[in-house]
Amino acid sequence: MTTPPPYRIAIASGKGGTGKTFVAVHLAKMISTSASCTLVDLDVEEPNDSIFFPEMELESRLVYKQIPEWNEERCTLCGLCSKTCKFHAVMQLGDSVIVFNELCHSCYACSELCPNDALPMKNQTLGTIGIAKSNQLTLVESRLKVGEEQAVPLIKKTHRNLQTEVNKTDYILYDSPPGTSCPVVAATKPADLVLLVTEPTSFGLNDLKLAVETLRKTQKPMAIIINRYGIGYEDVEQYCEIEKLPVIAKIPYSRKIAEAYALGHIVTESDPELLSQLKNVVDFIKLHRNENA
């Protein structure tokens, strides 16, 4: 019998600070008690899942992107690179060619098209990928180098690296970056299911709508988790009903949960209501997996 491929769940939001990481780390903890689970922190600009697993020590390695480097001796100043670069990252100014590393998208066009091989691609540090394992839980942290502007190349590399490393895991959870731009699209791309964490405020609703519109374009099945439930704004639920989006959990607004979480603690054991809401999420994930197997 062959092992089924891992089931991939992305946790995303739209609005920042709704509780993506909160949901991701708690789900990972809960799922890994009965199945193997890999939690991948793709919020590469500020990864913090590892804070909740202090006993797991990440083994990190450097990840690179490829940037062209001008070779003055080989260059005939034909100007083709400058004309080719869609991102204005390679510019010929008089008798020199300048590469703006931060604008480069590593598309190789200038390097491949150069008739004199005067723009060979060179490695430039993009960030790190760290991995730690403990029993059934694997933690992967993708961390962008400070000052690096583009998150997408690192997110893509993390996905690619994981293809070989976590094939045997039952579940993969992607803790996505906030927002609805390219990094979110890249982070959620391999997901079989996207859980959108929102909060019952007008800001939460506004950004939830944006996230739903984005993910509909990429045709991802979605389910909604309302965090800080009970602060009185009901439009989020009405929106979900109209749009036929299943609300699979309502995590209560609780100072006790917030305090424990702020200290870097996993809260479930001490909070039966939270535990039951998270069980709803796990049940939904399992059901969705079986229905789509």
Partner: protein, 114 residues
């Protein structure tokens, strides 16, 4: 002396554009013979990134001695401008190009150390 202004319009009566990378026009004025040349920068509006880089390429081709702008160029453009040894004056907000030129002559604009 050749001076380039970041401008909202194509002539010396136009208002200054305080932006560098996304300036609507680059207007080049030669104080030797009072000629004015305007270059439209409108295609940069559709670029998500690299506006500073694209505009500084145009600036390079104009080869001015002085750049007069509003907010001051960003990081990418600053590298190019530094390489070209163009003296850059900022803070020319809310004035026409002529007024900015007068302010420059009277030493009222601040030179940027790039």
């Amino acid at each position: 002396m050749k001076i380039v202004f970041t401008s909202q319009g194509p002539d010396m009566d136009s208002q200054m554009d305080s932006r560098f990378g996304r300036a609507a026009y680059l207007v080049s004025f030669s104080s030797d013979d009072n000629t004015v040349v305007a270059i439209s920068n409108s295609e940069v509006a559709s670029e998500a990134h690299g506006a500073g880089s694209a505009t500084s390429k145009k600036l390079f081709e104009l080869k001015p001695d002085v750049l007069i702008t509003g907010n001051g160029p960003g990081e990418t453009a600053s590298k190019v401008i530094k390489l070209m040894n163009i003296k850059t004056f900022a803070n020319a907000h809310d004035m026409t190009l002529y007024e900015a030129y007068e302010a420059f002559k009277q030493g009222k604009l601040k030179e940027l150390a790039l």
